[in-house]
Symmetry: C2
Subunit: 203 residues, 2 copies
Amino acid sequence: MGVLRTNVPRLIDHNERRELLAEATWRVIVRDGVAGASVRTIAAEAGQSTGSLRHIFPTHAELLAFALKLVIERATARVAALPPRPTAVETVQEVAAELLPLDRDRRAEMEVYLALFTAANADPKLRVPRDEAHLRMREGARWMIAQLDNGADLAPGTDRELEAARLHALIDGLAAHLIYEGAAADPSWARRVLARHIGSLAG
Amino acid sequence: MGVLRTNVPRLIDHNERRELLAEATWRVIVRDGVAGASVRTIAAEAGQSTGSLRHIFPTHAELLAFALKLVIERATARVAALPPRPTAVETVQEVAAELLPLDRDRRAEMEVYLALFTAANADPKLRVPRDEAHLRMREGARWMIAQLDNGADLAPGTDRELEAARLHALIDGLAAHLIYEGAAADPSWARRVLARHIGSLAG
């Protein structure tokens, strides 16, 4: 057994390998776009054989879907780890800002998210993970509006579902514009837009 | 000359051919995504030879850039043709709605716009037309905020540039969500969000 073990490459944990491949996928998509994210390119980026990648993700769509799922999981974990804030308005502003590409990691995630969001229009196999991602964002927007509905921070009689749809569209639009402006641009204007928007909901 | 003419295929006007090719490009992108919009596929869709297409658009990026320019020109022409409205709020609501994919033609245009917007992140040659399109939309948002700044429809002391950025992000986010929801969904919620947003600017 001891002799055999030294001749056998270390078996990487299945989940660990999936995550390594997903990270390689992100790097390739950010660099080459979804069109350039072929199984071969991604395998080369991950330092693995194409066959090994196909063993983990039988189809290209499965690999892209997994990368998108990881983006959502990471964003959710970051929001859950935010320290408590003294007011609902500050809490909501911090949560909303966490969903914007305001630093390098969040930019990469958002570029993947936007690229896959668009790719799903043409590829039905990407629609289930895209739909899940969209729904999670909408639920986040509903949660933010509910936090503000405390008798002070949301105007009486507000249509909460309409406000959640408006906040969701605004966040996705701001995210797209920040990606558009590039990593070198100052993103602080988007925080000011969010603060103005959330502050205006009290009416 | 008369004999020659009957043997020579009718020479399509250069501009007419460019527009026919751009329309074929839109159909292919809407059907197959930007990744599927190869010169060969587009030539087949337009019923022309690949060589003929390369004569008009030497590079793929030039063809995509032209398709995007046409989208912007058409949207601009539609806005310019809108009938006059009695109030600034109604005018701005109609202009903003014209920029959303609320019917079949505008959906196709917006799918092209979003696909090329994303593709430009990976392809530098698409960035100049993308930047022009983004700037035109921002100028439209500035114009709308300026229309509302009439002493009644925009709160005193409003930061107009910040509000233009907010309206622009909201419109782009709503457009992406309408594309996401599909042609079969009722898009009237997006009009209600716009009405709520524009109405709220009076403070």
